[in-house]
Symmetry: C2
Subunit: 388 residues, 2 copies
Amino acid sequence: MIGSTPIYADYNATTPVDEEVLEEMLPFLRKRFGNASSSHLLGKQARQAVDEARRRVAAAIGCGPNEIIFTSGGSESNNLAIKGVAFKNKERGRHIITSTIEHPSVLNPCRYLEDRGFDVTYLPVDEYGLVSVEDLSNAIQDETVLITIMHANNEVGTIEPISEVGRLAKELGIYFHTDAAQSLGKIPVDVGELGVDLLTIAGHKLYAPKGVGALYVRAGTRLEPLIHGAAHEFGLRAGTEAVASIVALGKACEMAEDGLDLLSLRLTKFRERLFQLLLMGAPGLRLNGHPADHLPNTLNIGFPGVTGAVLLKNTPEVAASPGSACHADATEISPVLSAMGVAQEYALGAIRLSLGKYTTEDEIDVIADALCTSYIRLLDGDLRKANN
Amino acid sequence: MIGSTPIYADYNATTPVDEEVLEEMLPFLRKRFGNASSSHLLGKQARQAVDEARRRVAAAIGCGPNEIIFTSGGSESNNLAIKGVAFKNKERGRHIITSTIEHPSVLNPCRYLEDRGFDVTYLPVDEYGLVSVEDLSNAIQDETVLITIMHANNEVGTIEPISEVGRLAKELGIYFHTDAAQSLGKIPVDVGELGVDLLTIAGHKLYAPKGVGALYVRAGTRLEPLIHGAAHEFGLRAGTEAVASIVALGKACEMAEDGLDLLSLRLTKFRERLFQLLLMGAPGLRLNGHPADHLPNTLNIGFPGVTGAVLLKNTPEVAASPGSACHADATEISPVLSAMGVAQEYALGAIRLSLGKYTTEDEIDVIADALCTSYIRLLDGDLRKANN
């Protein structure tokens, strides 16, 4: 804790809005409040701003502006991609391939489709959280219409072999979607290099506000809308454009792209320092995740002998997540760590530390010190209790 | 025009964000940026803010906080209500009743359901845009599972007999949804008095930002989610809560409720003045809409002999909408005016003037003068052209 504010190490849960992003969006919450569908001056200003944001988002991931659909966030984008492709192309086949470590907003649309006559293969992952391209290749059927594999895992940061899957999918003419909510702004994301047809973007993971996102939809992809109504977003997503939030997303994507190399280097250094300090400060810790193919900012550590929630409760200096951020106060083992076969004591004691562009070296040192101190105090307490 | 900014008379298309609303939301775009699902201090602050906003929205429409689902806006709320009830209750029946003058985000989900085995009755309206409760009663079948009729029409402002429909629906055990995007903040909206099971709220129509809305879902209503994922919003709408926008919606609903009587009186007076000035200033104008049962802020006027778009183009001093705001530069006759049987020349020449809480008496005078001057100039020009 620096002052009375905990040190924020939960950037994978959400990021602050960048001050420059906020400055760009504020005029659209004040004087420039027009509806982008209105034909008068205020409407035209709004339309121009939405168009410019679309160009910026497109430029950040290497696609055309007409391939960007603005949504309310990552969950909606995932739903639109998965249900949209499945329903629109069901005459081509009703089989979908995904993995066991996807975000709930991928897994639950898949389960929903299973109830509606679709067949879903949930690929296992190895101990590091990696999907095997060979497994995936073996799972493909004539009926396979969609593959959806996340770019990087939100809990352990493991980066999946998306380009390899993309080549395979392209070869076989199968639609391929990736959830890039956690990767954009942390590692390079180029839809051409990844070979994806659909890609999910979540604003609040990259310094834009909550409640805005986008879906990349490769030109020619057959997609059914999720929200029907007026002809916004090329007829694929009805609803008055959230102009201010869309402007913010555009600016955030531009900044993410511009600052990527430097940020990545700094976070890689910080993460390594944090990892080493933790290993030195407390006995028996273990990395949950891939030792090399991981996001530069994400460190999931198993603290044996405690639960992550209790450790964090006893470390009010640090704001981080036990297990996945989407389930507050959950005490059950994270499905991601389960799928990786992480031993129970490292899974129960898992903490996700996720760093971001406002993280400082001083904060790294305080985080490590605070966590190790609490951890050892908890272990000692338990040991004393056990000895009584 | 006052200075170089047109006078805004398009509040039904969208409203500015109220300065007090913006002040309440800004901290959540700055320091209080937590994810409401996080268990640390920042997360708890966010959760409290969302809970408080939920109480405020609920209080504004007379329901319990647990009956409010936050969404990305009116279109999503309408989709969630209509598809959600239809799919979840299809074993009870597959017939839906709506009207011909609904918003596209009601009509298009109905058409979508028609493609999926549902049967939809589109009730006609009279010359004033009113649905007949008798027609509705006659349309009810054993199979009818949902009635969806808007509270007030966005284009002409006609207020539908929702309470009467509500009594009928309740008596017969049929789910009843109303789109209150245009009524909340303009006339009293109480879910008990209206007798509705579901009610749509759109933030940007009542001085909150674009990209946030809510759906009232009466406790016990069986509803299928539209966006599947983590267990946000009582399991009915996945996606990280857009905390700042939700806070804004809460404040805006509170302010709407508090200021309703005074605002309604003022707008009624302004609308009447505007109507009288237009009638005095230009020959042959006609009201499109109901002479009595209308929103206090909405005035749809037919200017015979011109098109609304051309008239507005020649009146840059006024920002208003030709036909419905959802279709920029549309020249075809509005489906709402068509459904009302408005004669072609009054429909083509229709302009919607919609006033709001920042409208002043001076503006009313300028709007009337500017429109009448342009209109007469256009008519003269046409007459001269015709005489050559």
